[in-house]
Symmetry: C2
Subunit: 255 residues, 2 copies
């Protein structure tokens, strides 16, 4: 069945198709598809657009990334499949940001595929294909990182990541920026700077902000971010969607 651009869900159906193909190509795993569905539900409830609060978080993220001494973006299969180009744009805007493959379901073949997807989009170098260090607090393979990447980072941007990993980084004293559509997830709760927005919108905004920054890195992150306020604002946005939708009549005026 061909997908018509006039379909009301065209954009999200296209993304679904891309992820399904990424799974066939060995980039994305089944759990990644299910996780994407959870994100879709929250994006729908958030009105499928960047809220003013999320936009503020994205601006703060650009400032933090710019000011950090060793900022790293952690990339898993879903992120590579959905937003390799946006990652590349962020790194072009600020080349001192490093990019590391970090997989929950790690195999060397999959790590290589994720790296290749990033390299094809223009990211180089890509760290983490052959991990050289371990971080505490995570079981087995999930602890494996790059000694010059996440291991040594003062700031990690972790899009679409799990709560265990977010907690393990925080426990090491590293600052964490999350991108996660679920404001209630452990990842969003743990992050110093939770961005509650769709991945590609968030990365595009961060890249735009970084492209505008002209001053040299400020030598470390000094300001704080009201993480709790940002999550509360996302919950209020969802609440407004529910109230509005509850008032809507059924299709064709049926009740």
């Amino acid at each position: 069945m061909r997908l018509s651009p006039r379909h009301p869900r065209y954009a999200s159906l296209r993304v679904r198709g891309a992820l399904a193909r990424a799974q066939s190509a060995g980039l994305v795993v089944a759990e990644g598809l299910i996780a994407h569905g959870r994100g879709e539900a929250f994006d729908y409830l958030l009105g499928e657009r960047t809220s003013a609060s999320a936009r503020r978080a994205e601006r703060a993220a650009a400032v933090w990334l710019h000011a950090a001494r060793r900022p790293v973006i952690s990339v898993n299969g879903n992120v590579a499949a959905l937003a390799a180009r946006e990652i590349a744009r962020v790194v072009r805007a600020d080349p001192h940001i490093r990019v590391e493959v970090n997989l929950f379901h790690r195999t060397l073949a999959r790590a290589r595929r994720v790296a290749r997807a990033l390299e094809s989009a223009g990211v180089a170098p890509v760290l983490g294909v052959r991990p050289t260090a371990r971080i505490a607090g995570l079981p087995s393979d999930r602890a494996r990182v790059d000694r010059d990447g996440i291991y040594a980072a003062d700031l990690c941007l972790i899009p679409l990541e799990d709560g265990d990993r977010a907690e393990a980084l925080r426990a090491r004293g590293q600052k964490v920026i999350s991108i996660d559509l679920n404001p209630l997830s452990r990842t969003s709760r743990v992050a110093d700077l939770p961005i509650v927005d769709e991945l590609r919108r968030a990365l595009t905004h961060i890249a735009e902000d970084l492209e505008r920054v002209r001053s040299p890195p400020a030598g470390g992150i000094r300001d704080r971010f009201d993480a709790r306020g940002a999550r509360a604002e996302a919950l209020r946005t969802i609440g407004r969607t529910l109230t509005r939708e509850a008032r809507r009549r059924s299709p064709r005026g049926r009740t």
Copy 2:
């Protein structure tokens, strides 16, 4: 990595694993995994339990199924993978309910696999493997149904179905019971009787209710169901979850 039964998300991780295996077995497609993720998000927001309102809907569904002249349950890949046993239990409790394979992404091989999963659980006969009729208002393959099943049904129970199909059945004057965790979905909006609950919980309750019914079929569905009220109640439940979660502090007391 082995899954510990003490993991806080054990139940949902187990279901994810089962669906991933069902995809490898050709029963479930990539889009089905994404749809499952959307359901997970809504179930989480609904507190992962059957609300009093959903329970009332399930009781009404049992009455309707029992009273219908030609009730049919439509089964897709996800439903067969998740709840073949529960479908079998419903049909054992009321053998005049028929079961039909109905796939969005139809191939003969996949229809056969879905039928086999149902038959292994004890459902016989399974209609719809080789469709014998078409219903109006749906494109191409999705319109194909069984002349003695969905085509002739006065009542269709459509778990985890898309809005187009729900609308096409309604347009033919057939009564529709949906099982869908999203109270805002077109399926839930279109259904005469929307059950906003998790698939296996809903089917188990319907089976329990049918097992208690002793009178002969009442000769058609006479009562009406407050579909709009049921959806509004589900939205209020989600609203309560959001309010409660917004008050919770971050993990480890961080803000």
